[in-house]
């Protein structure tokens, strides 16, 4: 009974908040001030054609560093939980062998998924997309591989090294900004280059490539943990 009352109060609070929200923010109206500043000055200040990227990596680069840490914490949490589960269990589960079409098709499509993901995070400062999306796409390619070949094991040590190096790149590039005359963390110290070309926008593409590798290796690690939980419970790990 008390449970229902608590839920009702909770739902009422959310409905009231949404109604207030709908009243205060009409759809499609121009209500941005900070956004206008970024749109007007973003190209001159960061050199990136994609303003979303310049907000994510330049104006709010420190937040993004935090987001990457959250991602790392989640991946580490998944690994720890499954490691705890694995202790003392030796039995294996038999999965149905995937269909011939799935196996051959995933072999053909896997390199293209990697290529597409790489394209997405290399062009993050020019086109929609970036390190987070490209990394997720690459990890989905690994998921496809795991589903079609249940015996697949990736090299976890290699994944950890890639992940650590990518994170280190991000932090070192940020710290480098402290030694430039501006004295600010994550300062865009490299030359801006020619606008709207691949090599432009200073450190932003480098950071996005690092994020791409980091997200890809973290998600691939999560996928590996989950598949291992089904296939190689406990065992060698």
């Amino acid at each position: 009974m008390i449970r229902k009352i608590v839920y009702a109060i909770f739902a009422a609070i959310i409905v009231i908040a949404l109604v207030m929200f709908f009243a205060a923010y009409p759809f499609g109206a121009n209500k941005m001030a900070v956004g206008t500043y970024y749109l007007n000055h973003g190209v001159a200040q960061t050199g990136a054609a994609n303003i979303v990227t310049s907000v994510v990596l330049d104006y709010r680069g420190f937040d993004t560093l935090g987001e990457v840490s959250v991602l790392f914490a989640a991946a580490a949490g998944v690994a720890i939980l499954f490691f705890m589960l694995g202790i003392g269990k030796k039995e294996r589960e038999n999965l149905t062998k995937p269909n011939f079409v799935v196996r051959v098709g995933s072999r053909i499509i896997f390199p293209f998924i990697l290529l597409f993901g790489t394209y997405i995070f290399v062009h993050g400062h020019l086109t929609p997309g970036g390190g987070f999306q490209g990394g997720s796409i690459i990890a989905s390619g690994f998921l496809l591989l795991y589903l079609s070949y249940p015996g697949t094991r990736v090299n976890r040590g290699g994944l950890s090294i890639i992940e650590g190096l990518a994170g280190l790149t991000f932090v070192v590039l940020g710290l480098w900004g402290l030694f430039t005359p501006t004295d600010s963390f994550l300062y865009n110290f490299l030359p801006k280059g020619l606008f709207n070309t691949l090599v432009s926008a200073g450190i932003l593409p480098i950071i996005y490539i690092a994020i791409g590798f980091k997200v890809a290796s973290e998600f691939a690690g999560i996928v590996d943990d989950m598949m291992c939980e089904v296939i190689c419970r406990g065992g060698e790990k």
């Binding site: 956004g35 007007n40 303003i51 989640a74 999560i222």
Partner: protein, 113 residues
């Protein structure tokens, strides 16, 4: 306007699933629906009538034609965080299932109140 309504519906369906359903997996699906609804809501707050994507990809685009970039930047990272948190939650559910041999929250002692 349809985006506001859609995001509201997504949040409502997700809340329904979280509150009413007893299966942990269904509760997680509800949580993810809420996250999608909130993302859609944030994106549609940044929409400006007739605006295009905030990318200066060709000549002739100026800042007045574009939508707000900040909500898009926020949801961009939020989606990835959602995915990783869902993975963590699923890991917890697997742990609970192995321990209690059930996914029903009525039967899991420490989750009942």
């Amino acid at each position: 306007m349809i985006y506001y309504v859609g995001s509201f519906l997504l949040i409502a369906i997700g809340l329904y699933a979280v509150i009413v359903k007893k299966n942990l997996i269904k509760i997680l699906i509800g949580l993810n629906l809420i996250a999608s609804g909130v993302n859609l809501l944030i994106i549609s707050v940044g929409y400006i009538k007739g605006g295009t994507a905030p990318i200066f990809s060709r000549a002739g685009l100026n800042a007045k034609m574009m939508v707000d970039p900040i909500p898009q930047a926020l949801t961009l990272t939020a989606i990835v965080i959602d995915a990783s948190e869902l993975a963590l939650a699923v890991a917890f559910v697997v742990l609970l299932y192995r321990h209690y041999k059930t996914l029903d929250i009525k039967k899991i002692r420490s989750l009942k109140w």
